[in-house]
Symmetry: C2
């Protein structure tokens, strides 16, 4: 957990108080290139004490503040990923999730590749305001 400064900055930016639990959870999410479940995160944080309730509330706070978003999976789990790209920018609200059918890993892809975004007029009677694309297949790890 190098660069505490950057982590603290991010929490401040999103109006969140800086606590060791939050720094650790943020760090865990930043180190991952896939979306993580509550259980995933809990199992990765063993060096400091972290109650399951605190983690639930931390993740809620991250989502509520806009720092992270959650994805409900096929098997009714919640996975969490930061709304930050690798370079600190915000991921676009409309993005694509790649779900590996072998390992169940979920990747956030920052753009919706080679896909036109449907607008209101495209679906009779439905007013479209945002979208999420879910691609299924085999991820790089499972090839």
């Amino acid at each position: 957990m190098l660069s505490q400064k950057r982590h603290k900055n991010i929490l401040h930016q999103y109006g969140l108080k800086v606590t060791s639990a939050r720094l650790r959870v943020l760090d865990t999410l930043m180190r991952s290139n896939i979306a993580l479940s509550h259980a995933d995160i809990l199992s990765k944080i063993r060096d400091i004490q972290l109650d399951k309730v605190t983690l639930y509330r931390t993740l809620d706070a991250f989502v509520k503040s806009g720092l992270a978003h959650k994805v409900a999976t096929e098997d009714r789990n919640w996975l969490y990923a930061l709304d930050l790209s690798e370079h600190g920018d915000t991921v676009h609200r409309n993005h694509t999730h790649f779900i590996c059918d072998y390992c169940d890993r979920v990747y956030c892809l920052p753009v919706s590749p080679q896909v036109g975004i449907p607008d209101s007029s495209s679906v009779e009677g439905f007013e479209v305001r945002s979208h999420e694309f879910r691609l299924h297949g085999t991820c790089p790890q499972c090839h």
Copy 2:
């Protein structure tokens, strides 16, 4: 529940034994233009006895046989919809869900409108085999 014959036929077609519970659940799903939760269905079936476990198992059987599919919602519910279009054809595996942000209703749209389907080559290192598009906005009922 007119046309029992057609319902029975469908169950047979999918290799499912015909029981009153299954006929009733099938009928309920056929009458709905939105995907329904376990709780939705249970509350709609009051005239015959139907245990919650039986409904769970019935829905599992429908999904396993290919008669229905389930959608995990944002709030970690499962919604069920038939894989049949209004005219008895099978809905394409790749389809679009419209999720109303006001009433939470989920609609299955048979096609992916004005949207190009991404193929394997479009996402570096990921092999895409199927997709689900989720559109968010306001449904016709909530306008």
